[in-house]
Subunit: 255 residues, 2 copies
């Protein structure tokens, strides 16, 4: 692959996405606690495809048509749904080989906002190295879209954006003129020596804990459990295994 | 003054202000490079009041009525204006005792967005300590509104927000549940040992340099040159000298 000097941008909120949008770009959607971690986890456990749905009403409609539906708002499972948003819900016995419908507070709306772009991928610590490799293989400018919380800035998404841009700039020669990237890199530098301890202060950690949903906290911060990138194709998330980009070893393309 | 346990929030862009807005709060508007630094500088040099104007057309109208107008867009002085946005333009001989109209790319719009709030103040490194004292004296929740650049996140405004929240939390017992504050504090911790060197990477530094307008860069990062807070009263910025809060010494209230 040709070394690129392409730009990377970070968008800290869906409400700012309008100022970064360009259909020619690659967009990576990030909602670490917990939507995009759960989506990566589902594909790791063999789900065949995911229909990302923004509205709860639409999710309910899918359920009435017989689909398996994962749906929640503010961390609480919607009454009609089969299960909620925890990555732990997407066990192999439950999802392997199946199509599921997925709707959540922030993450799925962000995926839909970017749907007209060149490629849309789903990112989390779980697929960090694979994600950087996949982005670099596309040879396009990239926007990392942080889903945040109700359009507000979220620490865990921004720190992840720093981890990913650090890799894109350091290993794949991406460039930036975006202050959001510079801030994300500094946050990642501060957080990375002990990511789990650093992230204890995040507002979303407290929100999850208030509902007894923070059992997945450390799991959501675990890097490189999978080589699969969930990618959007015709409004459907399907798995792209980055292993095909360079044999078996993630990251080898950069060395 | 009673020690408070009030909340502080940081809003990284005018496009996110809607999610922080509350008429009962104090709002501090920040546009370090260069609008709010220029406004603080103008009051330091004796301007009697400033009419902050969002649109260039409105500024032109004021000019035709005989007002002295400072106005620019993207760092360039508008053709009808008396002068532009540089803090160095607001010299005592030019502005002392006078009312001026002021319109700029990002800063004045941000001031107008918050105009229905309990109090709106203008912040910059130039009045950092005085600003914290003034905020604490109001005994209300506070939002630091970063003007950014065309609604995008800006490093210098966010680092300043970290400097101010550090003071509010450390010296005036403010509290936060806002991830933007946590990020700002970490950026300030990283930047503060050598603020000027740190800030060289900011996108706005490069934008100013491209137009030969970065001569004010170091000045804009200089703390505590003035005790005056420009505050909004009936859509007019007027000076409030924080010296009256605690005699002559800024910060004494906190000790």
């Amino acid at each position: 692959m040709k070394k690129s000097q392409l730009s990377v941008e970070v968008c800290f909120s869906p409400a700012l996405y309008n100022f970064h949008h360009n259909v020619d770009k690659v967009v990576v959607v990030v909602d670490i606690l917990r939507a995009t971690t759960a989506i990566c986890s589902a594909f790791m456990n063999g789900v065949s495809s995911i229909i990302p749905i923004g509205s709860a009403d639409e999710a309910r409609e899918y359920k009435s048509k017989g689909f398996m539906v994962a749906a929640e708002r503010d961390g609480l499972v919607l009454d009609f749904a089969d299960f909620g948003n925890s990555p732990y819900n997407f066990t192999p016995d439950r999802v392997s080989g199946k199509q599921i419908v997925y709707s959540t507070t922030n993450g799925t709306n962000a995926i839909q906002m970017a749907s007209s772009c060149y490629r849309v991928g789903v990112g989390a610590f779980l697929n960090l190295d694979a994600l950087a490799l996949w982005i670099a293989s596309l040879n396009r400018e990239v926007v990392i879209l942080c889903a945040g919380w109700k359009n507000r800035f979220s620490l865990e998404d921004s720190v992840f954006a720093g981890a990913l841009t650090d890799k894109l700039i350091g290993e794949y020669q991406y460039d930036t003129k975006c202050d959001s990237v510079l801030a994300s890199l500094d946050l990642w530098e501060k957080a990375s020596p002990n990511l789990i301890v650093y992230m204890l202060k995040a507002a979303q950690k407290a929100r999850l804990a208030a509902n007894g949903l923070d059992d997945v906290f450390e799991y959501c911060l675990t890097p490189n459990l999978t080589t699969i990138i969930p990618v959007l194709e015709h409004n459907l998330l399907i798995p792209f295994d980055s292993k095909i980009l360079n044999g078996n070893r993630i990251g080898a393309i950069a060395k």
